[in-house]
Symmetry: C2
Subunit: 449 residues, 2 copies
């Protein structure tokens, strides 16, 4: 039996950040992990997929490099080596996992490998070991719903982790899902020459996005030749393809990108309130049981940066620091080509709340830095309260959108107005000028448009 101030179950970006923060607050901290430090994000999610996307984008950029004065590239000889790209991706993952190991040591966090169950609000069990903790954080993450694969013959369906482990790419793939992950992988594969179809039960892609962003992707995919089957399911397999409703869609593989469900630890003598299968918490990430907290995917918020922030909120609360997280001001990043990023309310949400608003849109095609980079697709849309000009939502489709959103997050967290946004001098030439330009447009005094 071992005593801790804090026991954390799950070492993803929620759990390991909470461990560092707990240790820094003086808590004796244990971090239990059944697989790998860094969790899904680092090992099978964000990091691997970002690297593959980066590789795919570079491949595509090379194919279009003539307009930059670059010569001597034989388009016929150019080839994307999936296996090599994968091993380089693995090298980065290994480096980052080692980094997390180092951070745990440096901060004096005890890492325990194994699967934890909770025998009570302060008792965890890992194998034969019993851990007693003043506080517990459940950061066990989520997993894809793998039940779909069993509905089709063995071998035709791959889950994402299996897909990334493959050394060969299929020529034709059907991706099942219309969520962010499905769209990201579809875009990445298309850039490296795979023929892609998408099958989704929904009637739009990435429905959490502002409609303008979602439509942009729909149109872009159409233009690129990604066939999207809306409100459909894969119902069977035929020779050389699958049935989507009544339609035959040729493919070599189906990639299952279904929505994710919570991974709950085994609980004994403990009942935690839940909501749609995810653990319910208050604004301090405390569950219905005092001293038991939950953070990250297991609470239904599927972003690494949110999990990390929740980890800090939880450990702060244990230490008596009340520092709730404002869930309306969290960035949403999507790594397509071009990227998409958003913070705050969508235009539909603003309308649904009957808020009087103004909007400013600015196309990338007239931004000088976008022209310089040859990356002129997309737009910025800024939404603000009509009376005071308070910025309510920012939606960006552009190269580097995922970096630009940092500024917009600041606008929302500091309750900035359009005046604040436009009076801040934006360096020239930068893509970030488009935020200011959209702000000027919303104020009725457009500059470069």
């Amino acid at each position: 039996m071992k005593n801790f101030d804090l026991i954390i179950i799950g070492a993803g970006p929620g759990g390991y950040v909470a461990a560092i923060r707990g240790a820094q607050l003086g808590m004796k901290t244990a971090l239990v992990e059944k697989q790998k430090l860094g969790g899904c994000c680092l090992n099978w999610g964000c990091i691997p997929s970002r690297r593959l996307m980066e590789s795919a984008k570079l491949f595509d950029r090379i194919r279009h490099s003539a307009s930059f004065g670059i010569e001597g590239i034989d388009a016929q000889a150019l080839r994307f080596n999936w296996k090599k790209a994968g091993s380089e991706k693995d090298r980065i993952v290994v480096k980052l996992v080692k980094g997390v190991e180092f951070l745990m040591k440096k901060n004096g966090v005890e890492v325990i490998h194994g699967t934890a169950s909770l025998d009570g609000p302060s008792n965890a069990r890992v194998g034969d070991d019993v851990l007693i903790g003043k506080n517990v954080i459940i950061a066990t993450g989520s997993r894809p719903d793998r039940s779909f694969a069993s509905s089709l013959p063995k071998g035709i369906v791959a889950e994402i982790d299996e897909f990334y482990a493959r050394t060969e790419l299929p020529d034709k793939i059907v991706i099942r899902g219309g969520n962010v992950v499905a769209c990201e992988i579809a875009n990445m594969l298309l850039l490296i020459g795979t023929s892609v179809s998408l099958v989704t039960a929904g009637n739009r892609l990435m429905p959490q996005l502002d409609e303008a962003c979602s439509s942009f992707v729909r149109e872009k995919f159409k233009k690129l030749g990604i066939q999207v089957h809306f409100e459909k399911e894969i119902t069977g397999v035929r020779n050389g393809g699958v049935l989507v409703g009544d339609e035959f869609v040729p493919c070599d593989l189906v990639l299952n990108c279904s929505d994710r469900t919570a991974i709950l630890p085994e609980l004994k003598d403990l009942r935690l309130d839940s909501h749609n299968g995810f653990i319910k918490t208050d604004e301090f990430m405390q569950t219905s049981v005092p001293h038991v907290y939950a953070i990250g995917d297991v609470t239904g918020t599927m972003f690494a940066h949110v999990a990390s922030a929740q980890g800090s909120t939880a450990t702060n609360h244990m230490a008596g620091i009340r520092d709730p997280l404002d869930c309306n001001k969290l960035p949403l990043n999507i790594y397509l080509d071009p990227e998409i990023a958003a913070v705050g309310l969508t235009e539909e949400q603003i309308k649904a709340r009957s808020i009087e608003y103004v909007k400013g849109e600015f196309p990338m095609s007239v931004n000088s830095k976008a022209l310089v980079e040859g990356q002129t697709e997309g737009f910025v849309k800024v939404l603000a309260d009509k009376k005071y000009g308070e910025i309510l939502g920012v939606h960006i489709v552009s190269t580097r959108a995922t970096e630009l959103i940092a500024e917009a997050v600041r606008s929302l967290t500091l309750e900035e107005t359009l005046d604040d946004l436009t009076k801040a001098v934006h360096a020239h030439p930068t893509i970030s000028e488009t935020l200011m330009e959209a702000g000027f447009k919303a104020l009725g005094k457009p500059l470069h448009i």
Copy 2:
């Protein structure tokens, strides 16, 4: 004789933005330009050089693309076609100049081609035409000091505009200057295979930078084989090279990147106070003569975005809106590889003012997105007041630094503290997380370090 509410001399990013703002405020506006709309920035400065740098970076990235799984590139065949890159650069410039033309028409600004002189505070003369204006803005820009060329035999020295117009690149070049433009061109040429030496009268590169950034570039240039001759001048020409002090430096061409001096319009019956050869203004950009304003390079601030902001400040002031520009919160962007960007005070300035401060540094090499992109050079340095944590300066050396600085500008304009910076959730994985990480470090609670 023609009457206007506002006469602007010079159609660079200061002048043409002031023209749009003046027109939007209801002023009948004339914009006089002796060369091209868009001025130096658009035609011979920022835009052309950014495009050539973008081309050079892509060329270099292609040479190192194997680690992204990209195959079939023959390093021997790969070639940078300077002429082609230049014509694509020209295409973009033409497009943007047409854009400015369109904006002038749309906003009802009268564009007058010719060289203006000022016969008095409200009288301008362009050829035989006399323009009478209630207010005048001098936005005539700056030019390099071309006197150096005459000290050497004809043909060996090129100015920047002449250099960009060349269809062939020299094998070996000596760049005269240690300023931002000299360093940017040196870095760009090196990436595409030119052998570069730098000769500067100063004892450090880009002395306005925080010493850490300046040193970074010095070390990087050394590593790359750019020989920098500090506190030296080019004193003569020998066969196949030049003399730098007593040393012979082989080269085919000398590129003169000397510091710039103001272009002053011819003034009659009008005397404007000046400072080091630049026109002196108050915080509303008004010169020593009421109703005569000056903005941009002619006032000694050499950045396009500052000129544009000054244009708004000036036109607002004419309309009775007092909206001074805070010169301590303006971004400084430098397009090297990696990029450099800064806002606020340098560490030396803070020390010189005896401010008690804390600092946080974070290296790009442990940022996951930088690893994913294969761009791990550089760091972020955040400087803050010790007592209240108010952020005083942010200095970034990294890929995309010129975009990241937008967030830091916001931190300074809103007088944010380190707590504000670190509590804003930064999306993962992004390079922008490094700002937050540096903030955590400064607070004494480092996360990924």
